[in-house]
């Protein structure tokens, strides 16, 4: 059965959805999706949480410096930092006497300015030294540098991106942070040769960005259904490619910086329904919310609930969908 006709059917807005959209200044389709997943009260809480700008956060690069030493150095310069429970190397910047991206410590590669949800994605990936890892949408390099940090520059990473401008930033971050075990290539990841077989594939898919409204309120007025369908189709094709690139027994982490089910659970559902040798593995991390099991009357493959979500009103982060998949090859 073609579920697209249900999931992407035109929305019928209730009075409450229209009122909330007007009150918070949203394109109604986004609020419709919030209400569909969280109910009216949950949607209200999410909309309120989105009104608080996302605090700046950094990831300490313990490949070059002890994180306690970095904290002390930055605090000695007037910064005030607080640890992030979900991210062992993360600090929230509570006070900054100068832009956090302009300190000598930044130039020395001692940290990366990165949102907490992005950090969590790589903890879920859980890369190991010696592994071959493909990052299918790698630039500007936040997650790729984190992979090399966690593996002490001992994994091999293939960093792929379509944008030269963003790859320039990736190259710069790799150099600044002291990492060398990578190859960066400019190409559409859907064209990667399938002779490559990776131990782990990271796909932080291009998305609507609905998850970062706290950072970019302009996104409140985007998110139309036809745009979402186009993005969903791209995400499905990229995830299928990730499946073809991963070794038997290997891991795929699919992530999208979005709260939309169409960009998260529904993408995973399609893969699980079309391949018999892939399963969802719940991450060994506490505190993440489960995936959405049903949406617009469609019950997803049971595995989808094992995926994870970060919500602004629950976790204080950006909205993120993260799912770890294991290919059994049997």
């Amino acid at each position: 059965m073609n579920l697209d006709s249900i999931v992407f059917a035109d929305y019928k807005y209730t009075r409450e959805v229209l009122e909330l959209s007007e009150k918070f200044g949203y394109e109604p389709s986004i609020v419709y999706r919030y209400v569909e997943v969280l109910g009216l009260e949950g949607a209200w809480r999410l909309l309120e949480a989105n009104e608080n700008p996302l605090p700046e956060t950094i990831r300490c690069n313990d490949y070059l410096i002890d994180c306690g030493v970095l904290k002390a150095r930055l605090e000695g310069k007037g910064f005030r930092l607080r640890g992030i429970p979900l991210a062992p190397h993360g600090f929230e910047v509570l006070e900054q006497p100068l832009p956090i991206g302009a300190t000598h410590e930044y130039l020395m590669g001692y940290y990366y300015v990165q949102d907490p949800g992005s950090m969590v994605v790589v903890y879920v990936l859980d890369p190991k030294p010696g592994e071959f890892i493909i990052d299918m949408a790698a630039a500007p390099g936040g997650k790729a540098t984190q992979v090399l940090q966690l593996t002490r520059d001992k994994a091999r990473i293939l960093a792929v991106d379509v944008s030269s401008r963003r790859l320039k930033a990736l190259r710069s971050h790799m150099q600044r942070m002291g990492f060398t075990s990578y190859l960066a290539v400019k190409m559409d990841a859907r064209l990667l040769p399938e002779t490559l077989k990776a131990d782990r594939v990271l796909l932080d898919a291009p998305s609507s960005g609905e998850g970062i409204i706290r950072k970019d309120p302009g996104r409140k007025l985007k998110g139309k259904l036809e745009d979402l369908k186009r993005i969903h189709e791209l995400q499905v094709s990229l995830l299928e490619k990730a499946y073809n690139l991963v070794e038997e027994g290997g891991v795929i982490v699919y992530a999208a910086c979005s709260t939309a089910v169409e960009e998260g659970e529904y993408v995973i559902h399609k893969l699980l329904e079309s391949k018999s040798d892939i399963r969802v593995e719940s991450p060994r991390m506490e505190g993440l919310s489960p995936g959405v099991a049903a949406y617009r009357g469609v019950e997803f493959n049971w595995g989808v609930a094992g995926c994870s979500r970060l919500w602004p009103h629950i976790h204080g982060t950006e909205g993120f969908f993260i799912c770890k998949l294991v290919k059994s090859g049997k």
Partner: protein, 175 residues
């Protein structure tokens, strides 16, 4: 006769030529050290129409990946670039060599004010220099952390350091 269509050449990594290798070797010799990277790791990123080549040290495991692609963007440890037969060292190489300061290499050491000036790409005068050496070398701060490449000069009888490439480049370049 129909003219043959020229094949488009994309930026790609290739092994370093012996002449190019010698240029880097010379530079290292002047610094008082040698390049510890295995020669087979050294690769040039050749970009069509560019007047220079970027030089990388690409570890074996990463090198194996190159054959899968006709074009490469960057890889491994960036050493610097060669232009008109001269080697211009890069910041990652300064970081690597800073570990050898006062052992193999005579580095320039700056105090806090000197560090600040240097990272703003400004010349540093004698009063902010803790250790000085003539010529091109690695510049570090008082804790020994690398700040980039500078040139020790004497101007009107006063020692100074001119920045050649400093970490502030990461911000000025905007990436």
């Amino acid at each position: 006769m129909q003219a043959r269509k020229k094949r488009k050449v994309n930026p790609h990594l290739r092994p370093l030529k012996p002449t190019e290798f010698r240029v880097i070797e010379e530079f290292m010799k002047k610094l008082g050290t040698n390049l510890e990277e295995p020669p087979e790791n050294l690769m040039a990123l050749e970009t069509p129409k560019a007047r220079y080549i970027d030089v990388f040290s690409v570890p074996e495991g990463v090198r194996e990946l190159l054959k899968h692609f006709q074009t490469h963007y960057s890889a491994g440890l960036y050493l610097g670039y060669i232009e008109k037969g001269r080697f211009k060292p890069g910041l990652p190489l300064a970081r690597k060599l800073a570990l050898d300061c006062n052992r193999k290499i005579k580095c320039i050491k700056l105090d806090d004010e000197g560090e600040k000036r240097f990272l703003y790409r400004r010349a540093v005068k004698q009063e902010n220099i803790i250790e000085w050496h003539e010529g091109v070398t690695v510049v570090v701060n008082k804790q020994g952390e690398p700040l980039g490449w500078g040139k020790g000069v004497v101007e009107e009888g006063v020692r100074a350091v001119k920045p050649l490439k400093d970490l502030g480049w990461y911000l000025r370049r905007g990436g």
